[in-house]
């Protein structure tokens, strides 16, 4: 076999595959920020929501949540929103569009190893999520003088578990959506209904019927897990183990679905 081609491209093969991830991440990032739809939907929405809701909340406080300021509640809430929007909604839509237009098939038929592609998508999604988190914390701190997360390690772990789990859910979601026309509406409806029921805009009382109902889904648990490291109530642990556990279970189940159902080829028949 003529396996004697001179390797001119240092970023291919062996250890160079890590360089290939960097190469692909660069273009994943470029595609994300140049295609304004995804950027507006995730980063734009979360920033605008926080700014507007923060301004309209004024000095109102939440009596049933340790009497913290409403805007203080909104900072972790929209950090959670931002992570979920990037990892779940935007990723799911993006994957369906890429699958249905043949882009995934084309990548599959290139020498780019599958793990490099998936790792690049994951890293790129994580970058988008983290950029948002930083922006939101900055706006909260500088614009509204809210408190930053007190337990930094807990905050980092929550973000990592959230990003991994919601990426898995985003990929799983993309596998059940048949075509690109329905990708946007379906994921958005699922996402926003769950956000609403989980108290993103209107904080829920812990024992309300809505809270009990939304406890079956990962969104409210993630909201609570992101809030915990801010230590709003004295004496409460910054590690919301139970909430993190529920998010991780959802992530694990989604990962199984994603692995079983993922397809490179368009679904249209």
């Amino acid at each position: 076999m003529s396996d004697d081609a001179v390797t001119q491209n240092p970023s291919v093969g062996g250890l160079g595959d890590v360089g290939l991830v960097a190469h692909q991440v660069r273009y994943e990032q470029l595609a994300f920020w140049v295609n304004r739809v995804g950027a507006v939907f995730t980063v734009g929405f979360s920033v605008v929501f926080l700014v507007l809701l923060g301004a309209s909340a004024g000095n109102s406080r939440i009596s049933y949540l340790g009497n913290i300021k409403l805007v203080q509640y909104y900072v972790p809430a929209f950090v959670a929103y931002g992570v979920m929007a990037a990892c779940f909604t935007t990723l799911a839509i993006n994957l369906v569009v890429r699958r249905e237009t043949g882009l995934l098939k084309r990548l599959r038929l290139s020498p780019l190893p599958t793990w490099v592609l998936l790792m690049s998508i994951f890293v790129s999604t994580m970058i988008v999520a983290l950029v948002q988190v930083l922006l939101l914390l900055l706006i909260g701190r500088l614009g509204y003088g809210v408190r930053l997360p007190q337990a930094v390690a807990a905050f980092a772990v929550v973000l990592l578990v959230g990003i991994v789990s919601f990426v898995a859910m985003g990929i799983a979601m993309s596998t059940v959506i048949p075509n690109q026309e329905t990708a946007g509406p379906v994921t958005s409806i699922v996402f926003f209904v769950l956000l609403f029921l989980s108290g993103l805009w209107f904080p829920l009382k812990a024992n309300s019927g809505l809270a009990k109902f939304s406890n079956y889904f990962p969104v409210r648990h993630f909201l609570l897990a992101v809030s915990a490291p801010f230590k709003f109530q004295p004496g409460v642990s910054p590690w919301a183990w139970h909430d993190l556990f529920v998010v991780a279970i959802w992530g694990a189940v989604a990962a199984v679905i994603a692995l079983r159902r993922f397809s490179w080829a368009p679904r249209r028949t």
């Binding site: 491209n9 190469h23 692909q24 273009y27 595609a31 140049v34 295609n35 084309r106 290139s110 020498p111």
Partner: protein, 308 residues
């Protein structure tokens, strides 16, 4: 040397035999075409050669390796180029960006500037993909197929949906690549495309090869099968002719023969002797289209899937 060899290849999707005991070989440097209507098994065959889908049975070798073997696939994919039926290029990149990204996947890619030049997009190199015309996007698509400097290029219906001018430029591009030694396997349902590009062709119908050879020899087109047609002169009958007609429809006579010169001489002498006119006299060879339709016409009313 053989670039592709296929022996007894079969693949079913549920009850549908997409590819049914197909065998063919492609030599290096050759342009080989799979011709057939939608649903004939062309795309499935190509996808098996690319290693994108598995096969049920048969032996397949592409550049000496089995495309179904996982650990061979990455090596194989550095040696082959693929152009899919659908235009699959990220709309938000510029021409140069998308080529530079894909060049990074290959161990020894063609220089991106060379590719841009080859596919004739020099003036569009910084334009966004979504602003390109269909023909330009197809050329970029071909550019992505060759950026890895492949020894073997797969083109799945490369000109479907293009306007006539864009088809011509795509043909020129494919001819240019072939003349530089790239082996090309293409699928098409256009007879003129196969005639213009391919050295050899296999006609697929319902997953089987129903004919193969050079485009000019297909269905025995190079030997005989010339039709001589004219209108029977007034006052004569078919039985008066010096040669037995093959078909008589009303006044129209068809004589199908491989000895057209001799038959023409007999008919002409007969007409001169009887002082009658042979109105509407024409002599023609069956077209590739006639043969193709004859080979595949039972597919016309078949419900066909998206896989072709």
């Amino acid at each position: 040397m053989t670039a592709v060899s296929v022996e007894g290849l079969s693949k079913s999707y549920g009850p549908i035999h997409a590819v049914d005991n197909v065998s063919f070989a492609v030599e290096r440097g050759e342009v080989f075409a799979l011709l057939g209507p939608n649903g004939a098994g062309k795309t499935t065959s190509i996808e098996i050669l690319e290693g994108f889908v598995g096969r049920d049975s048969g032996n397949v070798h592409v550049l000496g390796v089995d495309p179904g073997h996982r650990h061979q696939q990455r090596w194989l994919r550095t040696k082959i180029g693929v152009v899919l039926q659908e235009l699959a290029v990220e709309p938000f990149f510029t021409v140069r960006q998308v080529l530079e990204r894909n060049a990074g996947f290959y161990p020894s890619p063609r220089p991106v500037d060379d590719v841009i030049e080859l596919v004739g997009l020099a003036e569009k190199s910084d334009a966004h993909v979504k602003t390109l015309s269909g023909g330009q996007q197809r050329r970029l698509d071909v550019g992505l197929g060759i950026v890895g400097n492949p020894e073997l290029l797969f083109l799945d219906e490369p000109t479907t949906g293009l306007d006539p001018a864009a088809r011509r430029t795509t043909w020129d591009l494919i001819r240019g690549l072939a003349s530089n030694g790239t082996t090309v396997v293409l699928s098409s349902h256009y007879m003129d495309e196969v005639e213009a590009l391919a050295h050899r062709v296999a006609v697929l119908s319902r997953g089987r090869i129903v004919a193969s050879g050079t485009p000019s020899s297909l269905g025995g087109r190079d030997r005989g099968n010339v039709t001589i047609r004219f209108t029977l002169p007034a006052g004569t009958a078919a039985g008066d002719l010096p040669v037995t007609p093959t078909v008589v429809r009303g006044n129209t006579v068809d004589i199908v023969t491989d000895g057209e010169i001799a038959v023409l001489a007999q008919i002409a002498n007969w007409a001169l002797a009887g002082d009658v006119e042979l109105t509407g006299l024409s002599v023609f060879r069956v077209t590739l289209e006639d043969i193709y339709l004859g080979l595949t016409n039972h597919d016309d009313d078949e419900a066909t899937g998206a896989r072709t």
